[in-house]
């Protein structure tokens, strides 16, 4: 084993290999950082370049991309509240609040260090304990995935600060959204409402951008005319790096716990970084001291999420390298690349090709440190991004949201879905609902559905579905976790009932004094839930047992939570002001109309011209002073520069298709 690592390390002594490893890491950070581009896509695009390389060189580059992307997705999560990939959703919870406090660099450095730490822990385990862990991973069957999904949902109690009911309502809506399109197992098409393009389901990239990014821009830049992304300017400095690193080094328990969670989730085939970072974040809030700081901007939250999703990557390679079973979608691409170089996973990899395999593992380790280097050094540059005036940054981000939601599936409907989600996200925010549980519902829905349907089939064949789903060791363990997670807070509150009673009184009086008139948010949501449930039931009547069971399950929950919301809305009204001023309402409406016009124009005059026009108008709109000839030329030049830059980056460098027009092609 140690010899293997040494001979693997020898490959890294070749300067060319090291160059490609660093190049891969840098590219990975770019792919992770651009919402809509993923590690999977970055790996796939780079696979052909590795043909002409030596196997070791090619694999080192892929290792760099994989590790880099696991960090890169934290950058937009921290700076603009938009997870670069689903794995960074939990990074937004504390990263964005930090950045709003002017502490973006703290968050970026914490993310880089945590990514490095998680990745190192994961890789050491990969190097030393791959075989036994791989055998464990096989024990994960349909029943286990079902319970893993349910356990994931109990995290909502952490995500929805404030009202648990609000969290469950939005999560259930998310689960229903996940069932749009063709059912993975039964192949039936559901809830597409006459749009054939919806057969592919809701794109996760569009949902992330729509629910996390658009509401912020619509509300802060367009609605409130904020001049920069955050109130406080960022002043990057070396001492920030020093303080942040010191702070995290002194928290070994947090770092190790997060890494181990990421590793375990990574080993389970099919479960990816998005689940890993969520679970890790929620465990951090459960076990850390001063849990009330989470969600308001603590580097511990950022570290918990990033350590987990970076440890997930080597974890997912464990079943891949030993059994040929990829633990995550990017791992599947690496499998493809291995096979192209004639290397079959399994024993061969550790015997015949041992030096290349260990070069890959050592490469992952070195890439982790490259991430730390790029991350801390780069934090000076990235952090300044949010100091850019909003009339420059907002139109740029809006154009990127279109690209990001379009890129993966080459589907213009995904962009419209993104816009609709943005509007819904804004409404939810104003009604005091969080977007995170909804996206969690979209992500976990398929695990729960596939687990349930396959359990029904296999359990049915064995005699009893119920005993198949419950009487298995890992299932029992997961059920125990679910129960603890769901009822734990309630039990704790029983123990400290006195204190809770006091805070509740405070909370209640606060609500009464603040909002006397306004919209009753729970009442509105309750009505919406019941209407949605009715529409879903009406349009999915013809589904088979297997194609419909999950939809009926979710709709049942929706009716339940809908009625609960109605009751609560009547008994304990939570009234909110939807718009603060009429000017704000007018601005947001105009902003949405402008975005819609942009999307309409894209297929007509093409992406380039539509983006130029949109950028120009949006940039002039966001300017507070009257438009002069000079400012017009300034905005025009900016628009030309930005569009040219994006076009060359996506079209030439990354070879990602852009929306085409019907006339100007």
């Amino acid at each position: 084993m140690f010899d293997g690592l040494l001979s693997g390390a020898a490959h890294l002594a070749v300067p060319m290999n090291l160059v490609f490893l660093f190049l891969g890491t840098a590219l990975g950070i770019v792919f992770g950082a651009i919402p809509g581009l993923t590690a999977t896509m970055g790996l796939a695009l780079l696979v052909p370049f590795t043909f002409t390389m030596e196997p070791a060189t090619g694999l080192l580059m892929l290792a760099g991309i994989y590790v880099g992307a696991m960090y890169g997705d934290a950058i937009p999560a921290i700076l603009i509240n938009t997870p670069g990939t689903p794995a960074a959703i939990a990074t937004t919870f504390d990263g964005y609040p930090l950045s709003q406090k002017g502490m973006a660099q703290h968050a970026l450095v914490a993310a880089a260090f945590a990514s490095c730490f998680g990745s190192v822990v994961g890789n050491l385990v990969l190097a030393y304990a791959a075989e036994p862990l791989a055998q464990m991973s096989l024990k994960f069957g349909p029943a286990e995935y079902f319970w893993l999904g349910i356990f994931g949902l109990t995290i909502i109690s952490v995500l929805s600060s404030g009202s648990l009911l609000k969290g469950f309502v939005t999560a259930t809506l998310g689960m229903l959204l996940s069932s749009v399109g063709m059912a993975t197992l039964s192949g039936e098409v559901r809830l597409t409402f006459g749009f054939p393009e919806l057969q592919g389901g809701i794109g996760l990239a569009g949902a992330l951008i729509g629910f996390f990014c658009l509401p912020e821009i619509l509300s802060n830049f367009i609605g409130k005319r904020q001049n920069t992304y955050t109130g406080a300017q960022v002043q990057p400095s070396l001492s920030v790096i020093k303080d942040t690193l010191k702070d995290l080094v002194l928290r070994p328990v947090l770092m190790l716990r997060s890494s181990v969670i990421g590793l375990v989730v990574g080993v389970a085939p099919g479960a990816g970084g998005n689940i890993a970072s969520m679970v890790s974040y929620s465990e951090a809030t459960r076990w850390e001291k001063n849990p009330e700081e989470f969600g308001k901007g603590t580097i511990r939250g950022v570290a918990a999420s990033e350590a987990a999703n970076s440890a997930m990557a080597p974890g997912s390679l464990i079943p891949l390298l030993t059994l040929g079973i990829p633990g995550s979608p990017p791992a599947a691409v690496i499998l493809g690349a291995l096979m192209l170089h004639g290397m079959q996973p399994g024993n061969d990899l550790f015997v015949v090709y041992a030096d290349i395999t260990y070069a890959f593992i050592v490469g992952l380790l070195v890439a982790s440190f490259a991430v730390l280097l790029f991350g801390t050094a780069g934090s000076f540059v990235y952090a300044r991004i949010i100091n850019v005036p909003s009339r420059t940054l907002a139109p740029l981000i809006l154009v990127m949201t279109v690209l990001g939601s379009y890129a993966i599936r080459n589907n213009l409907l995904d962009v419209w879905v993104m816009l609709v989600f943005g509007i819904i996200g804004l409404i939810l925010n104003r009604l005091r609902f969080q977007p995170a549980p909804l996206v969690l519902g979209i992500i976990l829905g398929p695990y729960i559905e596939n687990g349930l349907v396959q359990s029904m089939m296999i359990g049915g064949a064995s005699g009893s579905v119920l005993s198949y789903m419950t009487l298995r060791p890992i299932s029992l363990f997961l059920i125990g976790l679910c129960v603890l997670s769901a009822f734990g807070p309630w039990l704790l509150s029983l123990l400290s009932r006195k204190r809770m009673a006091k805070t509740q009184v405070d909370g209640a009086s606060a609500i009464n004094t603040n909002t006397i008139s306004g919209i009753n948010s729970d009442l509105v949501m309750g009505v919406v839930c019941l209407i949605v449930a009715a529409i879903v039931l009406y349009s999915t009547g013809g589904l088979s047992q297997y194609g419909g069971v999950f939809i009926r399950f979710s709709t049942g929950l929706l009716v339940l939570f809908g009625i609960a919301s109605l009751v609560r809305g009547i008994r304990q009204p939570d009234k909110v002001q939807f718009f603060e001023t009429t000017a704000e309402r007018a601005r947001i409406t105009t902003g949405v109309v402008m975005l819609a016009c942009y999307l309409v124009l894209i297929p007509v005059i093409g992406f380039v011209f539509a983006s130029l026009l949109f950028y120009l108008i949006m940039s002039l709109t966001l300017k507070d002073s009257p438009i002069t000839f000079k400012s017009f030329i300034f905005s025009l030049l900016q628009a030309l520069f930005v569009v040219a830059l994006l076009y060359s980056l996506f079209h030439f460098l990354l070879q990602v298709p852009l929306p085409t027009s019907m006339w100007l092609d």
């Binding site: 999977t40 896509m41 790996l43 796939a44 695009l45 696979v47 052909p48 043909f51 096989l138 024990k139 994960f140 069957g141 349909p142 399109g181 063709m182 993975t184 197992l185 039964s186 192949g187 098409v189 597409t192 054939p196 393009e197 057969q199 592919g200 389901g201 085939p269 099919g270 079943p319 059994l323 040929g324 079973i325 990829p326 979608p329 990017p330 599947a332 691409v333 493809g336 690349a337 096979m339 192209l340 004639g342 079959q344 996973p345 399994g346 993966i408 599936r409 080459n410 589907n411 596939n450 396959q454 089939m457 296999i458 049915g460 064949a461 064995s462 070879q655 298709p657």
Partner: protein
Amino acid sequence: MRKFYTILASLLLLPTLALADGYPEKNVVYQITFNPGGGSDIRARQQQPMLEADLGVKIPIQYKPGGGGSLGWAELVKKKPDGYFMSGINIPHIILQPLARDNAGYETEQIEPIILFQQIPFGLTVMADSPFKTLDELVSYAKENPGAVTIGGSGTWDATHIAHLQFEKMTGAKFTYVPHKGGKPKQTALLGGHTMASWFGVSEWLPYGDKVRNLAVATNEPVETNPDLPTFKSLGYELLSSVYHGVGVPAGTPADAVARLEAAFTDIANDPEVRARKLKDGILPIAMSGADAKALIADRKEIWAPIVEEFTQ
């Protein structure tokens, strides 16, 4: 007005027809109907540099995943048939989807196959420690215990599913078919003991070596990689099951463009190095012409149509 557009379109097309000798004059888009990084993508990216060298233009790869591939094939048949847009095609998918779903968005005949460049035969596989030593044991156990035997497959209305339905019909036994989200989860389920048997392609069982046992393979002749493995035919079941991968263009594409693409892909398919690598991985390298592919499609469609109809009733 429509007439005007038709005339306008044909006027615009005239120069391209006149210059048909020079095909291809611009980039030819290669569409993948599955996710980035999947088998189809890796295959296409392997062909990409060779195609670019042969055709002298760029071959950008474009993804259109969703609906088990149907979204991409629906996109393909909507494209102008000018030879500048092609897509990976899979048999049986492009036959079964329009048969089984009225919302597939395309008809099989709207796709003109250019070439089928590889074939992966399927068989029934169990774990090495399974009590089922032969196909007969599996079938007779299932006859005594209807529905108790779980058999995994890669999805619904794909190669494994139709093979399963045909096999059930031939044996008269009742199994429980468990679809998965693609080939890999199906393999994991068998290895972890979550399914009792599974429909595996040759390339899927080879990496597992002695860990798995194959009961039969659904080809006419025994496969090279497992010469002792009986065929379903030799055991009395007329079952043929393979997945074929190839490339197609929208029907109505000019013949010269089709011929040019077919020549380019045939050269790649016959490349000794490409062939050797496929054989080693358990994939049969073939170079089936567009015309032969059409005949194969018509033949399979005739066999499968009644089965699909019966099942979707």
